[in-house]
Symmetry: C2
Subunit: 484 residues, 2 copies
Amino acid sequence: MTLSALPIENLVAALAPLLGPQGIITEAAGIERYTVDFWHQHKGTTPLVLRPDSTEAVAAIVREAARLGVAIVPQSGNSGLVAGGIPDGSGRQVVLSLERLNRIRAVDAAGGSLVAEAGCILADVQAAADGAGRLFPLSLGAEGSCRIGGNLSTNAGGVNVLRYGMTRQLVLGLEVVLADGRVWNGLRALQKDNTGYDLKQLFIGAEGSLGIITAAVLRLYPRPRERRTIWLGIESPADALRLLSLFQDHLGELISSFELIAGLGVEAANDHLPGGRRPLAEPHPWHLLIEVAWSLDGGLDVPVDRALEAGFDAGLVQDGTIAQNEAQRTAMWLIREGQSEATTKVGHVQRSDISVAIADLPALIARAEAHFGKLAPDVQLFPFGHVGDGNLHFNFLIPRDREGVPELRSLLNEHLMMLVAEFGGSFSAEHGIGRLKRGELERRKDPLELELMRRLKATLDPTGILNPGVILAAPDAPASREIS
Amino acid sequence: MTLSALPIENLVAALAPLLGPQGIITEAAGIERYTVDFWHQHKGTTPLVLRPDSTEAVAAIVREAARLGVAIVPQSGNSGLVAGGIPDGSGRQVVLSLERLNRIRAVDAAGGSLVAEAGCILADVQAAADGAGRLFPLSLGAEGSCRIGGNLSTNAGGVNVLRYGMTRQLVLGLEVVLADGRVWNGLRALQKDNTGYDLKQLFIGAEGSLGIITAAVLRLYPRPRERRTIWLGIESPADALRLLSLFQDHLGELISSFELIAGLGVEAANDHLPGGRRPLAEPHPWHLLIEVAWSLDGGLDVPVDRALEAGFDAGLVQDGTIAQNEAQRTAMWLIREGQSEATTKVGHVQRSDISVAIADLPALIARAEAHFGKLAPDVQLFPFGHVGDGNLHFNFLIPRDREGVPELRSLLNEHLMMLVAEFGGSFSAEHGIGRLKRGELERRKDPLELELMRRLKATLDPTGILNPGVILAAPDAPASREIS
């Protein structure tokens, strides 16, 4: 660890009175968990973790860091998948954890909004909305541990995007600590406010590189009163698209989730995930997990049954079941959400998060099956994801005893990205860029767009102290700064 | 007109071969309509209107203008309400009309998107979506003449925001000509794409001051199969809020419009608007126009009747009717959309476009009635607007023969803005800033937010040639440049 001791010591000295013993971690044992990513695949280094419990404390930290020229890595739930919330390997970046900034400041059921601090766990935000008879629709696998600041900073997606949009669509207002430590209070709960440039859009999805989000006004929705969760065994991704079209025809805007899962992934969950059980008696080549909901009081079975009948009549469904209670529903979602975990028990998993036009999904999958069948015949594909959004986690399973796994990972990724680019798709649909996909960004993004991004960064963080190396390369960063 | 002749002549000479005779207007008679705003209340001056018919031609114009230092005012449908699309009074600003850039480039029904050029009339975009069995939900009074470039640049609202959000929520990708004439092609149709800063958000709602939007990928939705349009006579704004809550309880996400109209405005439309007729037999103090829709095939009457019954049972509804056919529906919307036009036939109208928290609407209206009853007893209030979004067009009717109308307009506006500020509301909910509300913006906006806005402007339009004086003051602008 190349530790530039003096600025760090000065930072600690300046902040200790404000943050107190709970707010400063300097021992290696305490620091460890803030430097390792969700899948324990990447590790950075830091001499210091700061844990402020108020917006004012965050602002004070940034002011001091700016004065001393110390780089800050904002972190909330540390469940990101692109190493955007852990420090690099230089030992010069300080982690600013928002986990103690975790109050729900207000809930306005009638106005349909809620004010949450950045460190609130997503499940707690959902519960606060539910307690007021409302729905906060953001939902994803990590909802029990991810925190809303990270969801906002990565513009998180999840399983309800089809109906409610990405996190960006769920934000009415923000409170942000800027790169010079000033606080921008944009916590407006107004549904409509066209008074100049919409500054909050800059900070959503910027991964903490343009400012540090400390709180947000989030949009609440009517809470569904009736919900049907449906599991179908099907033949192919093409049939999945035909069923999506058929379901949209019968159920339109009532569909909140439309998830495709490869048979291999379902079997892996069935065999290896604690509590995982395939909802259908037999294996199928592909599966769909569909959720439909409305806020009316009764009657949802009628259009759902009509849609299912039409699917069976058209020969698109091999077998299917509807969850009869919350336990069955949870069991279905466990299979879907446990895809990554289940397959890690079978071999090495190479993950991805791509999107293409919805209509192109079957062709992309077919092309990939043929391509990787030749390129790496011992590697298995198990794509799963949000077919209603054109977003697949196109993952690969590498045999446990395979040699040269790091090189194979790079090869698989490189070839997948080429295929996705052929279809005009995105190499990061919902996970963001972080440190892991920065090279991809530099290679694949329109140079004009990169230039505009660099100009925005220079405008909002001119000294480059906010999460340097995330999304864009720090101007002076040597390669050795990278995480391992 | 202080005309700086040389740069303009050079601009015309350089662009004539590219734009052809249809693309250049220099005669005063032809120019006139590009310099006057929608309500014929404001007028600017320009020596030149350019009418490119391709993105490349727009880019060429901006390149030449940048080289010669000529300011450009982008204009599409010229139906804006804040003089953001007409030139100032200096005679030094050239109008760039996008009306010939009006092709629908593509419609993808399965993928739920459509590519429209900036000059497409909103009604034509709606029709293209409808022709593909889909809905483009943006809808507002001027939809027969406003153009999508202006809708995007002002982040237009309208009557369906409650359900589908503002224009910003309806955009997947953009094509933008930057201040140096380079073209940013961000026409991606991907539903999810978290690859770096979301640049399109910068240009939406920026009123042409950061770049010129030339085309957009717009999001389409399932087309409603059943719709009910309901007109209710009610006692008070407080009852309107109670009914909103009751309808949301019974119909949740199916409500697309929930419009409140003062009795005075309905009577004005009944008496003075061609074809206008009050949908109910008797006058009422206030009226609600509610629209409910879903994409299912039959059965919507059941929850609608339940909601209406509950409203009557609770004593919240004095009288009501449901449109039995498209003609009746159109007649109802005519009353709502004709509010401004109808009242101009009775006297001078002072308009506004404010929003507050939904729960504060009744208190704001009561406070305003008391306040203006004393301040200007001969002035009548006729607020109308989107109560489901907290957005009111809080308009005033000034007697035709009143003296000192301009001073009274300023007084009414100033006092209304003070009241709105007391409630933490917005002084421009959906119309934007343009030239007319720039002073309001400078007075009422957090200085930090203004600073950030100025930094963005300097970053994206460093020489200040894009719509100078709109949203932000042009750094060197003398007062004489203002419109009359």
